[in-house]
Every structure is written in structure tokens, then in C-alpha cells.
Symmetry: C2
Subunit: 606 residues, 2 copies
């Protein structure tokens, strides 16, 4: 895990010059005089001798203070406490045969100390650093500089560096240029809320922090930069969930004169390189591809976890006109009935089924029908409503065998899909089907261009307004926009969307038509992205791109349960930083300079 | 200049697949069938044949439409105009002997076109793209996507990518980890004005965009990350000058257990690698070092351009009590008299001298005494005030010879130094001493820790409050702070400060003492950087770092006259973006969500 140090990069500290890190010394170094620097991890006193585990970023070495070597140094060593910072000089010796520690890379040796410099002392840390323990997230973030000393978190940052550096080298070798785009920019229509930055010089005007560099990277293609990438911070002022941060990092790229296969091919090569560099795993692209419609039909979602089966079966046509009124009336109103055959789950208890029903309820299910398939009989409160033919047809469609459990969803299509997609994941968790060491990649393609937003009574983009429609669907753009497919693609890994992109529109007339379908009139279009429409008029080249979420990818690579564990200084769910106490109050004068007045109840100053 | 393309990275466009870029084909490719994509740079019709210079990021290839090859394609080619986007298929042929263009890499060949796809048309650009012409900055930024098509600007971005990628690889190999620090953070006391970001969730609270990641990188050292770097955007809401942008990019690094020599050594290696990769120049570190006091004495500034001489000579002691009352009274009041011997400038006209005097005036000089050294006589309005001994002493101190011109500065030390430092540069410009291909590096060390700010009546940091004082000067910290030197260092290149840093304070008690000297009381210290003081208590290791300005460095590397030419989407001096029209107005609802009210005269909506 620890990177190899360059021979010529030793560090000095005053008169002492560090000769090795704490993960290097072994039997090859016997009798050498060395200088180590690091923290006191643990101290043990044994038979008048003091043993210290000295720790740095690289590892741990045992150093020994023996009064027979140097009584003064031994005396001084009595004061040492956890997390004090030391520089020691000493001789490498083999540990007595039975004292070797096979768990440590340096476990065969110890360093007999002849000189000790105490570089700093330390208060007692508020939580132990040498063991994994349950600590509140808030305390961890408040003392992040201590939390980061724990190898499990430190190693995440090391892996993050490796992953991103691998990406940069891969893309550079593939002729990409990393080009920085502005942070202080204009609101781009990504759908989420912008973070705003008031301008002091331009009264009443605001910058927005970018939600993505989308329009700038398109500008760079129009500018002829051919292959652009950037590892870039993006911002969304959304309500935070466990896996969201107000600022996040994206691997963003855009290419000219390309089709889907080019972008997919480069992405696959990049991901393969990252997995090799960070986990020594050999992925074997090309990854599978699946059309959006098929993914939704089979898994209820466009980001299916394909490490396991438990697919959805559509029973709507099988059961149309069936004897079960609940299903029948849903089908007649245009709804659907789908089911999962949970193979071998016929042993689930009544309580299990109640739990699953409640779980389904949190995703909008009004109930959950189920059938246990037993030898010779189907056990369920609902079987009595079906006739033999209907049961047989269902059994056939679901490939039902004794020992199986069938779970039903019946409602409008979107509710059924969501409920069963989540139930499917829940079953996988209960059946322990989510293997952390399986990495199942899947491209989802052929997304719809737009979807109807019933609340706003207009169409909105499934990806974004710059995504190219299928050329052969252009005829339907105005007449039946919901049927138009787009040249978008997402990369899904184990149920997580880790990347997404599209071929963009490069013809100004088509861009104008798409904006119109989205209910954006000319004035609004001109105001919001007039500069893009203008740029498309000046010889824009065909182009497309993709963006990957670094935080999410690293969470999967490191096997972390939260993206906070792969970010050096993450924010809480309330978007605060317990370490620096950001955000903070500012002087009234600063607001005045920004041409703003407060609109909140100010706390009384004491 | 153009990077080598990977063989397997060809791009496709519909049915056509690009086989080569426009800078590749030569006599080795004769009779090959190729597909090129790019823009129409120029079109010439000659004897019924149409010649097009086709351009992409890499270069230019001449493609030929001959009615005898394919009359339909030739007919279609008649419509082609500048900046239209083409894909062409054709055969590589040698140009007729006298038609070869030795200026072009592909000048030996041309491509006889058999198939033409017009990928996009273009309006006529508002300025020509194939020649360097005087265009207003505003127009260039408004149509930045066209401006960037010009090779001189595009090549700057290519070099920028190369430089930064070289830095990343160099530091990665030297065991550094790139670690991202937050953009939404808390105001750090860097002295300049912060850009603020109002928090929606936390009413009345504000994030600040970082002026530098200073405190976070210190936290990372205290966290044991040992060697950190980051290429990172930083922000300052200052009044803009030609060479300043509201957002700028920094190569930021910090190391544990190090002294000045370690950081200087790594910096030198990094700069050497960058110059080799971008300009194929072999620098030869170690670079010279000079103490702050010496630099100010000899050049009047702590960032001297050392490509030429014209050093300052201090005449204060030589002239103390001299016959020239103006000088004498300045010296008696504690001021100084310094002079530059402009070797060989004795031929300057009266107008030249008037211009120089006016120039000096803009930097605060109340006048400018001068002496022309002629054979046998010194020509000047002021020589009559000095006696023979005084003249001789001056002549000796200045090494004055016939043909020289002496320029004097007499005032308080800081004014004299500033005026003469600028005069020195102006002389170098007039004498054409600023060789663009000489790169003269100089480390400035031993800075004062603090300087007295007469306006605020307190001391302020010369670098920043976390810079370590010389250990041997700690005794004077409270009694004579102005005399304390600090462990800071700047790297100066041809008169530009391209990097600066310091060894930091790692002991909490010394940090507290320095803050006190700066007039920061305990409450303010606790409020502003309590978390740093707290962190120093928990086994902080000795550490130090440095930061380099990427924009400035690239400006020098590319020989650009403005940093705007090395930034893809720079802002104007009013901090606006003519392309996107950022900053822009926002909806009142957005302000309300941020708990803010306007404090500006709102324009009436029509």
C-alpha cells in the first residue's frame, strides 16, 4: 500500500537526517545505524526496558530504550506518551527469536536507541488511534487530523491519489489535455440549486459555482482542443443525504469527432487502469451493455446491481382479466403487475414477510402480495383468487419451484419498478449475495431524451438539454418527444452509477428544437445559454463526453461505507465542517461591500 | 509541440473513422487512403481545382478537390467556407516539386479528395483566425472559442497541461500524495478579501472560498500525511490588475520533518523537470540564494530581476554631511541616498532624462537627480553643490567612468528602494537587457518575520502568521520583533516571484507568542484559528512547505505578455466573463433562500 520512496528523498530535521521510514527496516539492515522519526503509538515497560512502537505514514517500527545502552536516554524515555513526536538514532538488531512479530513488516527487528530528540509533545487524544472503535462522526470530523492518523482512513487517501494519478496519466497518454475551467462562473442549468457568490465589483450580480463544467467543455471542443479532461470540483446546494457532499470531484472529459464506442472504449481502458493500479485487479473490458428499457424491465431501475439475479418478471399480460380484483383493477387502469421469484426463500417466516412488506411500504407500495411455493400447494392469502390456469401461467412465467417465494408489486409502472428494485436489493442483502470483491460493470444506453414532469406540466431532460437525440428519431421530436431516444450512456458498477455522458448536439438548429421541446422559449434560451447557441453557429465539431464521480468510485474501490471516508475534510449532513466551524458568521462590513443586507434573525451580541 | 497520439486512439464519426491528424502525413504515406477531419482554414481556387488548408489541433494538411477525380465532390466543395467542419477521404500524393511548402510539416504532400462529408457550417468569424492581428481583449474573450483556435493561444494550453502533468508526476515519484482540500471553507487570514458563499442551510453563515489551503495542509501534516501536494484553485477578491485574476491556480505542497534545504531541493528538481518537459531547457540547480537584506540593498526589492546588473549603490554614508542640502537634510532625517550607475547611458537626451524623471515620479519620487559622467567633467545641475572629495568618493563608490549616467534616489529607504528598483527595470527595457531566453533563478531567504504597519499601528506578518521565526531570534520576539528573521523563502525568476513558502511553527507556545506580537488577542486567535492552535497540541510534527503560481510560471514559460493568454477562460479586469456574461443577476427567490436581501438599486424590469 505504501508507495516506494525515492532513495534521494530523505528528510532532515535540524541536525538529524531521517534515514528510513518506519516500514522499511528488516534483517538486511542488521547493525546499521539509522535515524527514524514518527509518533509514539504504544509504549510498554518490561523488565526496566522501554519499548515504543514508532509510527509514521508508512508503518511501525519497534524502538527500544535500554538503560545499559544509554542511561540518560532511557531516563528521558520515561516521559514519552502516546502521540509524542520523536526523532531517534539507534542500531538495528534482530529481535530475540520468540519475540518476532510476523504481523509487522519490520517485525523481525528492533532499533536500540542511542539518541532521542523529542520534537513535540501531545495531549491525550480524545479517542484511541491504534484500534477501530465506535466514535461519533462529529468527533471524528472535529479532530480530523487525529482521525486521519488511523491507517484505514489514511490508506483511503493514498488510494485516492493513486487512482486519480492513474487517470491523469492514462488520459495524457491518450492525447487528452487537462484544461482548467472557471470556478466563478454562471449558473448552468443542471437542475440542482447553485451555490452563489456575490460580486463586489458588479453590484447585484452573482457568480455561481459550477455544478459541472458542461458548457465550458463544449466550448473547448468548439475551440478545437479535440480531447479535454479535468479532475474538477463541482458544487450542488442540495439537501444532503449520507452519500452526498456539497462539493464533489468529477473526472470530466470531452472528445471531438467521436461516437459512443470511442468514449466507451476510452472509459473502459481508464477504469481498467485504475483497478489495476489501486487493487491489482484485472478487469476485462468490453463491459456488457444494456438498453435503458431492458434494464428497467428486468431490474426496475437504470442502475441495476447485476452481481445477482432475482430479476423482475412482468405478469401484466399474464394476469389481465384475472380473478384477483386488486390486480385486475390496477391493470385495467393502465398499471402493471410484476414479481420477483426469490429462489429458495420459501422458508421466510411470517415476520420476515411483514418486514419486507414494511420495507416495500417505505418506497411507496400500498401492500405486498406474496406466494410461498410448496410441494403440491401454493401458500398465500391471495392464491384463492386465481384459477388453476392463471396459477399455472404465473408459475411458468416465474419458473416457480417448490421452496421459492414470489413477491408481487402492483401499481403504476414507476412505483412497481421502484419498489421491486429496492426489494430486490433488500433480498440480496438478506441472502448475502453482495460480494464486495465482485465488480460487475454494465453500460446502460438508449436512454429516453426527455421525460414528462407531471408537476411542472412539461418535459424535462433525462440527461441534460445538450444531449443528442437519435438521428432517426428526429422526426418524432415535436410530435412524440417521449418516444425519442438519446445518445446517452451511463456506467453502472454494482448498482452505483459511477459515470455518465452523451454525444452532444453540435447543430444549432437541433439544439434550438430540443430547447423548445423542453418548454424553454427563445428569450430564456438566449438568456441562459445564448453563448452556446452562438458558438454552435461557428463551425462546432461533433463531440461527446462523459464524467465520473471520483468520490463514489473511491468508496467502492476502498470498500468504504461512506464517501466521507474517502475525502480528507468532508462536511456533515448539515454541510458544516466541525473542524474549522465553517460556515461562519462574517462582519456586517463584508456584507455591505457585497451590496447585501441580512434577512435572518441576528443573534444578540453580548 | 503536439503530443504523440496513441495508435489505438483513432476517432470515428458516423461511418467515417479518422485515420490521421492534420500534422502527420508525409512522403511515407504516399498513395495511402486516409480520412482527415478538421476545419477549413483557407480555400484557394486555382485552374478549376479547389485547394483547402484543413486544420485540427495538431496542424494543417492541404486537401485538393479536382473535378477529374470526382466531379460531384468538386461541385460540393464550391460551397466550403472558412471554419466549416469537414471529414474527407482521399489519397495521399506528392505535391509537384515546386509546390512543396517547407514551412508545413505536411508540406510535401496533399490529399486528393474522393469523399467529402460536411459535418458543420460556420458563420464568418468576427476576427481572422489565420493571422495575428490586433483584436480587442473583450472581443477575444467574448468569442474565446474562436480565439482558442489560434495556435499561439492553443499551444499555451498544451504547454500548461504538460507543465502541470510534469509536476504531478515528479511529486508523485517523490512520494507526495495529492490530497484535495475544501473549496467551501472558512475565511483564512491571508490578508486579502475573501469571496463569500452564503449558506442556505445555516442562516446567516457564510463559507469563504480559499485564498490558499494553508491551514488544511498544516492539518494534513499534523495528520501524518508526510508529503502533501495539490494543484489547486485559490481565490482573492482584490482589485484586479493586469496580472491578477480573481481565481488562480497554485502548486501547493507541504512536508514533514524537513528543513529549508529539503524544500528548496525538491522545488528545484520540480522546476528543472518542468523546463525540460516544456521547453527542452536544461536548468542547472542549485539556484543561487540571497538574503532578503542583501537583495533589498542591491536591487531595492525582494524580487530582483538578476538577468542584468545596474545594481543600487548606497551613498548615504559617503554623502552624510555633504554640501548638497537636499541630500543632506534627507540623510539627517534618517533617509537614504542610493544611486544606479547606468553604464554607457551618458548619451541619454534631455528628453530621455525627463521621461525617466516622470517615470520615477509615478512610483513616489519627488524628483530625480542625475549626473552624466563625461571625460574631464561631470555634467549635471547638482555637481556644483559637491566638493572635489565628495565627487571623488561618489565616483569611486559607483565605479563611474566616462560615458556613464548616474541616477539618484533620495528619500526614506522604502521609497528610494521602490523607485530605483523600478528605474532599474525601466533602464533594462530601454537598453534591451531583458533576454526572454535567459532564465535566472534566485532564492530569497532570511525574510523579516514581521513589519510595522504604520497605518494600523501594529506589526503584520511578512509571509503569514504561521511562519517559523529563527530559533536563535526567539529572545527578541517580544522586545524587538522587527529584528526577528523568519524561515521563509521565495523563488524569484527574472524578477517574478514564482514561489514562496516557509518552515512553519509546530509548537503551540511559539504560535501563541507570534500571534500576540501580531496584536491578535486570545479571543480573536481562538475564533479565527482555534482549531490550528488546538491541533498543534496533539503531537504536531515539524513541517514546512511552499506554493508556486501556475499562471505566472506559464506566462514566463510561454513568453506571454499576459496571464490571460495561459488561462482557457480568464476574466476581465472587472472580474467579468464576456463569454458567459458572468456574474449575472439571480432571481429574488434565490436570495431569499439564502437569507439575504438586496442592498443595491435594482434595475427596473421592462
Amino acid at each position: 500500500m505504501f508507495p516506494k520512496k525515492k532513495e534521494n528523498n530523505m528528510e532532515s530535521m535540524g541536525a538529524l537526517r531521517r534515514t528510513h521510514d518506519c516500514n522499511t527496516l528488516g534483517l538486511d539492515n542488521l547493525n546499521q545505524e539509522v535515524v527514524l522519526m514518527g509518533w509514539v503509538l504504544r509504549r510498554r515497560d518490561h523488565g526496566g526496558v522501554i519499548f515504543i512502537d514508532l509510527r509514521d505514514r508508512y508503518g511501525i517500527t519497534q524502538v527500544v530504550f535500554n538503560p545499559e545502552i544509554n542511561p540518560d536516554v532511557h531516563e528521558k524515555a520515561h516521559q514519552l506518551r502516546s502521540e509524542w513526536v520523536l526523532a531517534i538514532k539507534g542500531k538495528v538488531e534482530q529481535r530475540p527469536g520468540d519475540m518476532a512479530n510476523t504481523k509487522l513488516k519490520t517485525g523481525d527487528i528492533e532499533v536500540l536507541v542511542s539518541e532521542l530528540t523529542i520534537l513535540n509533545t501531545s495531549k491525550t487524544p480524545p479517542f484511541p488511534l491504534d484500534e477501530i472503535s465506535e466514535i461519533s462522526d462529529n468527533l471524528r470530523l472535529q479532530y480530523r487530523y487525529l482521525d486521519l492518523r488511523r491507517p484505514e482512513i489514511a490508506n483511503n487517501l493514498i488510494m485516492r491519489h493513486k487512482a486519480v494519478q492513474t487517470v491523469r496519466n492514462y488520459l495524457t497518454e491518450s492525447d487528452f489535455l487537462e484544461i482548467e475551467t472557471p470556478m466563478l462562473t454562471r449558473s448552468t442549468p443542471e437542475g440542482a440549486r447553485d451555490y452563489l457568490v456575490p460580486s463586489r465589483v458588479n453590484a447585484g450580480k452573482f457568480y455561481a459555482l459550477p455544478q459541472s463544467p458542461q458548457l465550458f467543455k463544449q466550448m473547448l471542443m468548439i475551440a478545437g482542443m479535440e480531447r479535454y479532461f479535468q479532475v474538477v470540483k463541482c458544487f450542488r446546494d442540495e439537501d444532503l443525504r449520507a452519500d452526498r457532499q456539497p462539493e464533489f470531484t468529477q473526472i470530466d472529459m470531452e472528445l471531438s469527432f467521436v461516437g459512443e464506442d470511442d468514449i466507451i472504449g476510452i472509459s473502459e481502458g481508464m477504469v481498467k487502469a485504475v483497478f489495476k493500479a489501486t487493487r491489482d485487479i484485472d478487469l476485462e473490458p468490453p463491459f456488457r451493455r444494456m438498453k435503458y428499457d431492458e434494464a428497467v424491465a428486468r431490474y426496475g431501475t437504470d442502475r441495476p446491481d447485476t452481481r445477482f439475479g432475482l430479476e423482475l418478471t412482468d405478469l401484466t399480460e399474464t394476469l389481465r382479466g384475472c380473478g384477483f380484483k386488486v390486480f385486475n383493477s390496477i391493470i385495467e387502469k393502465g398499471g402493471v403487475v410484476k414479481a420477483i421469484n426469490a429462489k429458495g426463500c420459501g422458508t421466510f417466516s411470517r415476520k420476515d414477510l411483514d418486514d419486507l412488506t414494511n420495507f416495500a411500504g417505505t418506497f411507496g407500495a400500498k401492500g405486498m402480495a406474496w406466494i410461498k411455493i410448496k410441494e403440491g400447494e401454493w401458500q398465500s392469502p391471495i392464491t384463492k383468487f386465481f384459477n388453476e390456469d392463471e396459477l399455472a401461467a404465473m408459475g411458468k412465467a416465474l419458473d416457480a419451484e417448490p421452496g421459492d417465494l414470489i413477491l408481487f408489486g402492483a401499481d403504476d409502472a414507476s412505483t412497481v419498478n421502484q419498489v421491486l428494485a429496492e426489494l430486490r436489493l433488500e433480498l440480496a442483502r438478506r441472502l448475502d449475495l453482495l460480494d464486495e470483491n465482485t465488480f460487475d460493470f454494465l453500460w446502460i444506453t438508449d436512454f429516453p431524451l426527455v421525460e414528462y414532469d407531471a408537476d411542472r406540466k412539461r418535459y424535462s431532460s433525462v440527461h441534460h438539454p445538450f444531449t443528442a437525440p437519435f438521428e432517426e428519431h428526429l422526426d418524432m421530436l415535436e410530435s412524440d418527444p417521449g418516444k425519442v431516444k438519446s445518445r446517452a450512456y451511463d456506467l453502472v458498477l454494482n448498482g452505483n452509477e459511477i459515470g455518465g455522458g452523451s454525444i452532444r448536439i453540435h447543430q444549432p438548429d437541433i439544439q434550438a428544437r430540443v430547447l423548445k421541446v423542453l418548454g424553454i422559449d427563445e428569450e430564456e434560451a438566449e438568456d441562459k445559454f445564448g453563448f452556446l447557441l452562438n458558438a454552435l453557429e461557428f463551425g462546432a465539431r461533433p463531440h461527446g463526453g462523459i464524467a465520473f464521480g471520483v468520490d463514489r468510485l473511491l468508496m467502492i474501490l476502498t470498500g468504504s461505507s461512506s464517501i466521507r471516508d474517502v475525502i480528507a475534510f468532508p462536511k456533515t449532513q448539515k454541510a458544516t465542517c466541525p473542524l474549522t466551524e465553517a460556515p461562519a458568521s462574517v462582519a456586517r462590513k463584508q456584507l455591505t461591500e457585497l451590496h447585501l443586507r441580512p434577512d435572518w434573525k441576528e443573534e444578540k451580541k453580548e
